[in-house]
Amino acid sequence: MGAQISAGDTAWILVCCSLVLLMTPALAFFYGGMVRRKNVLSTLTLSYVFMSLIGVQWVLYGYSLSFGPDISGLIGGLDFLGFQGVGAQPNIAYAKTIPHELFASFQMMFAVITPALITGAFVERVKFKSFLLFSLLWATLVYDPLCHWVWGQGGWLKEMGVLDFAGGTVVHIAAGFSALAFAMVIGPRKGHGKVPMEPNNIPLTVLGTGLLWVGWFGFNAGSALGANGVAVNALVTTNTSAATAGLVWMLLSWLDGRPSTLGIATGMVVGLAAVTPACGFVTPLAAMVIGAVSAPLAYYAMRFRERRKLDESLDVWACHGMGSTWGTIATGLFATVAVNADGANGLFFGNPAQLGIQIVAVMVTIVFSFGMTYVLAKALHVSIGLRVSPIEEDVGLDISSHGERSY
C-alpha cells in the first residue's frame, strides 16, 4: 500500500533513538570501571567522543554511504549527503511507517556505538590523536560499507538473504574482530600479565551494564522499526538471552572461584550481544539456548586470549565477537517464520540453506573487519604511532592525554 506514517511506530522509534544513544555512555561506564584509576577519564572519553564524531560524520556522508542508492551492491551513493532529501516522508525501501529521517537517525545511533565498542581493545595506552584518525577511517572504510552490504537496499549480503536482525555482523562481529586486530598491532599494556590490573571501580561497570541492558531493548526491539509483535518478541528474546547468560556466567565463575559481580555483568552483556542478530527471528526458548551457549563460549575465549598473552584489554573479541558469531550462526539454526513472517526458517525448521548463508556472512564480516583494521592500525602505527610514550602510560592517560584527574 505504501507509505503511511504511524504515530505509534514513530513514537517507538523516537524512543529507540534515545535508548540506543544511552548505550554509548553506558558502554563508557562499563569500560571505565574496569581500567585503572589513572585512565578512567581517558576511557570514558574514548566512547563519548563518538557521539560527537559520528554524530557529525553520519549526517555529512556516513548515512549516504551506508544507505544511499546502491552502487554494485558494495556501497551507497551520495544522494543523502548532509541528510538532503532525508525528511518527514518514509523511505519505503527501509521503513514504511516512519519518517525517513527517523530511520536515518536510528541508524546513526548504531554507527555511534559500534566503533566505541572497539575501544576496549586499546584503552590505557592509545594515543588520542591516532585514535581519532583511526576512528574516522574505520567508520568510513569498514562500518559504512559493511552496513550497506547487510542492511542497505541492494547490498550484496542482504541480497544473499542473510538474517541479521539488529547487527550481529555489522556491529558486534565487526567490532570484536577489529578489536582483536588492533590489539595485535598496538601490543600489550606495560606490565600486562605481570602486575595485576585490578578494576578501579566495579560499580561503574555494573551501572553501565544496567544501562546497556535497558538501551539494548531499543537496539534490538527498535530494529523492528515499528511498535508491533516482532518488536515485542525481540524485546523478550533479548531479555531472556541476557538473563540466561548472566546466570550461566555466574555459575562458571563460581566453579572457578566465586560468583563474581563482574562475571555476572559480563555474562549479561555477552547474552545481549549473542542474541542481537537472532532476536527478531527466534522464540524466547531458543533465546534461552542462545544465551546459555554464549556464556561458556565467551568465558573460555577469554581464558584462551589470556593464555596467548594477548592484551585485548577488555575482551571485545571474546564478548562481542565470539558472542555474536555464535548468535549469527544460531539464527541459521533457530529462525522461524512463525515468529517473523519477513524472516526465514533456519536449519531446525527445515531450511539448512539459511545456516550456510549465515556462515558465509559471518566469515565475510570477520575477514573484512579484521583485515581492514589490521591494515589501518599498522599504517598508523608505523607512521604517526598508535601508543603514548612509556612515561605517559605510567603516569596514566587522564593526566598525560587530557590534563585531568578523575577522582
Binding site: 595485576p196 585490578e198 565463575s253 572457578d256 572461584g257 563482574l262 562475571g263 559480563t266
Partner: protein, 125 residues
C-alpha cells in the same frame, strides 16, 4: 617521655581496637588506610574469567602518641583486640616522639597529652 605506637592491623578489627583502647582510657589517636605486605601471602581475587593474585592488602594503621608510662597498657589492649590467629594480624612499631604541641591551647610536652576521662585522670582518682 613520649612514644608513638604505629599499629598496622586488619581493616575489620579497627572498631574492636579503638573500643579496647577507649576502654582503658586511651583517647587520642588517629587511623588511616595503608596497603601492606608481610608474612601474609596476599589474596586471590576473581576476575571476569578466572582468578588472580593481589599482594598488597588493605590494612589500617593506628597511630597513638602517649606517655611512656601508658605504653604497655596500650600495647596489651591492641595485642588482644587485634588478634585472630591467622596470618595478616599485623604488627606494632614503637617510635620516639620528642615534642608535642596542642594547636588550640599551645600546651606543650607531655602535659599536652591529657584528655578528659583518660587513663591518667582515671589513675589519679
Amino acid at each position: 617521655m613520649l612514644k608513638k605506637i604505629e599499629a598496622i592491623i586488619r581493616e575489620d578489627k579497627v572498631n574492636d581496637v579503638i573500643d579496647a583502647l577507649k576502654e582503658i582510657g586511651i583517647v587520642g589517636m588517629n587511623t588511616f588506610e595503608v596497603r601492606g605486605h608481610g608474612r601474609q601471602g596476599g589474596v586471590q581475587l576473581v576476575g571476569r574469567a578466572g582468578t588472580y593474585q593481589v599482594n598488597m592488602l588493605p590494612k589500617i594503621q593506628i597511630n597513638i602518641v602517649l606517655n611512656t608510662r601508658n605504653l604497655d597498657a596500650a600495647l596489651e589492649a591492641i595485642l588482644q583486640s587485634a588478634y585472630t590467629g591467622e596470618t595478616g594480624d599485623g604488627i606494632i612499631f614503637v617510635t620516639p616522639v620528642e615534642d608535642v604541641i596542642r594547636v588550640r591551647t599551645r600546651e606543650r610536652g607531655p602535659g599536652a597529652m591529657m584528655y578528659p576521662g583518660d587513663i591518667d585522670e582515671r589513675r589519679n582518682k
